[in-house]
């Protein structure tokens, strides 16, 4: 039986196709390496540039490696001072931590109300919150600008936090609602029988179970706030209130006497927190990606 089956295959042909496959895998590997190299060129340029002095950058080839590593300290100090990055970093850290933190907490509370209690009309309430994700940002800008002006919270930390918290609520609500509706409700009921109030059930039973997706959505929303340029430009365009990306944009656009070496150092410093977060919490990010994308 086995020998009969083997005879049906042309062994030489199999070997030939194997060899072709191995050869083409070398070609594929080469292609992959080439593409990766092309992808890395701008990063090389970034790294080479931040180690040059302004004079060195002007005189040398953009591809030339830096002559020494020490200019980066000067570049960083200049960038930090002239781009008011101290304000920018502190502001964005505040907006990101508090805004995304509150948003995820409010989203978890909303998701609790949407999944752990029985009543009619849930869908309308959920759709009201979810509607916050379907409009493009451009539709918020002009009315918010005038509402903020009327209320006197334009260019204030409070105004920025208010917006960032609100915009970060709908998406975590969707994720946490899906998560919580899959959690067993038996423990809830048991706790209620024991006389626990709804707030205790939320705080002691549901919240500890939802910490995983809450962390994932918090990181996604934190990164979104950290990277935001548009709303800081419209609602918080004052040096003391600016987000870090806004500080960077203003610095780059100010045509100061500073060269690309300093501006690119600022760009890298501004990106460091989100880079660090990404590497520290890759697993959560990939989880978040799966929830966002599919």
């Amino acid at each position: 039986m086995t020998t009969h089956a083997l005879e049906r295959f042309d062994l030489a042909a199999i070997e030939r196709s194997e060899r072709v496959a191995r050869g083409s895998s070398w070609i594929a590997l080469g292609a992959c390496a080439l593409i990766s190299l092309v992808w890395l060129v701008p990063f090389y340029y970034l790294v080479a540039t931040i180690f040059k002095t302004t004079q060195e950058y002007t005189l040398s080839d953009p591809f030339a490696p830096p002559r020494s590593l020490s200019p980066i300290l000067d570049n960083a100090v200049t960038a930090w001072n002239e781009a008011t990055m101290g304000y920018g970093m502190a502001n964005s850290a505040l907006y990101g931590a508090l805004g995304a933190g509150l948003a995820v907490l409010f989203a978890a509370m909303a998701a609790f109300g949407l999944t752990r209690l029985d009543y009619r009309g849930k869908n309308a309430l959920f759709m009201t919150i979810f509607a916050g994700t379907i409009f493009p940002f451009q539709m918020y800008l002009i009315p918010l600008f005038f509402m903020y002006g009327r209320l006197g919270i334009l260019n204030t930390h409070f105004g920025m936090l208010l917006f960032y918290t609100a915009i970060c609520i709908p998406f975590p609500t969707l994720v946490l609602k899906n998560f919580m509706s899959a959690l067993s409700r038996e423990i809830d009921e048991a706790a209620r029988m024991e006389g626990a109030g709804e707030f205790t059930v939320f705080l002691r039973i549901v919240l500890p179970n939802a910490l995983g997706p809450m962390t994932a959505t918090f990181l996604l929303q934190f990164t979104w706030i950290w990277n935001d340029l548009l709303f800081s430009t419209v609602l918080g365009n004052r040096a003391e209130v600016r987000s870090i990306m806004n500080s960077l944009q203003v610095f780059q656009g100010s045509y100061a006497s500073t060269g690309p070496n300093v501006v690119l150092t600022a760009a890298l410093i501004a990106s460091l927190p989100s880079i660090a977060l990404f590497f520290l919490l890759r697993r959560h990010f990939m989880e978040g990606l799966k929830v966002t994308g599919l």
Partner: protein, 317 residues
């Protein structure tokens, strides 16, 4: 001492149907109140900071706006008609169409190509990480970086000059012919990693057996791709398509930073046009009308995606 079996109806009659209903309604009302208390912060913030502004924006787009007295009177579609006769608006619309088409075609084609190429190759993880790398920089930082890549004395001219054996100092971001393609290239560099990862998630969910069977039956890789992989990948491709369209349609940071020196900045895209007209020139009615148009397009794209997704899921089932 067996009690006679009580039917549900008997039970209802014994305790009283009305009483049960009343108690059930009271329980529901109580639950609804508790739930509303839990949802209050989220509802209040979303309604007053997001939904009310959207309504106001629509309202503003139908109103006249005078420089000093503010909102004046109902203007009907006059603001939209004004938009139609603005040459800048037309250019912005055209460029947006180019953006959407390019941000649809290039990231998906390249992302799919890389996903297929990288799959199963040695050092797969390394290659994937490298292509994903631009994604973890902030978009504003990416824009600043490429601003200098495209500068007259920047990196790109150096590379082109090297291959052309000549000194080149094209201002890629200052010329009408090159500004949009240049920024699109940056967008592709930044986006392909994410598209590729999403497509790989979809590819890895495809069962191996039909592919194996097709290979044994002598199907070429292209046949296998067209007949098996592509249909099964369609739902993922749909999601990615819409993500790309929405991103391309509303992107602000890249254009705003990289186009800063371009004289025709406002024509780069509708999102930029809207910001420029409203916040730099004070054309609030113009701006809100543009925002409504952007909103309509985005909503129809999202709706189309939901509808297509539904159709595809039904066909696959």
């Amino acid at each position: 001492m067996a009690r006679p079996k009580e039917t549900d109806e008997d039970l209802l009659r014994r305790i009283g149907f009305a009483a049960i209903e009343r108690r059930e309604r009271a329980r529901q009302n109580h639950n609804r109140l508790v739930a509303l208390a839990f949802m209050a912060p989220a509802l209040i913030l979303v309604v007053f900071v997001l939904l009310v502004p959207v309504a106001i924006n629509v309202y503003l787009s139908f109103m006249n706006w005078r420089k000093f007295s503010g909102i004046d009177q109902f203007a009907g579609f006059a603001n939209y008609a004004d938009l139609g006769s603005s040459p800048y608006f037309f250019d912005a619309l055209l460029n947006t169409a180019v953006w959407v088409a390019a941000s649809l075609v290039f990231p998906i084609l390249i992302g799919l190509g890389l996903a297929l190429l990288f799959r199963g190759v040695r050092f797969e993880e390394t290659f994937k990480n490298i292509v994903f790398l631009p994604r973890i920089l902030a978009p504003t930082a990416v824009a600043v970086l490429w601003f200098y890549v495209y500068a007259p004395h920047g990196l790109l001219n150096r590379v082109v000059g090297f291959f052309a054996h000549a000194a080149i100092d094209v201002g890629w971001l200052y010329d009408q012919a090159t500004v949009t393609p240049s920024i699109i290239l940056t967008f592709v560099w930044q986006t392909v990693g994410l598209v590729m990862v999403l497509l790989l998630l979809g590819l890895n969910a495809i069962p191996k057996d039909p592919l194996e069977a097709a290979r044994i039956d002598g199907a070429t890789p292209w046949d296998a791709f067209r007949a098996i992989i592509l249909p099964l990948l369609t739902p993922t491709l749909l999601v990615v398509t819409i993500l790309c369209v929405l991103a391309g349609f509303t992107v602000f940071d890249l254009l705003w930073v990289m186009g800063a020196g371009y004289p025709g900045l406002r024509t780069l895209s509708l999102a930029i046009f809207m910001y420029f007209e409203a916040f730099q020139k004070g054309g609030w009615s113009f701006g809100s009308a543009t925002a409504v148009i952007i909103g309509l397009v985005v909503l129809s794209a999202t709706w189309l995606q939901a509808w297509l997704q539904h159709r595809v899921e039904q066909t696959l089932r």
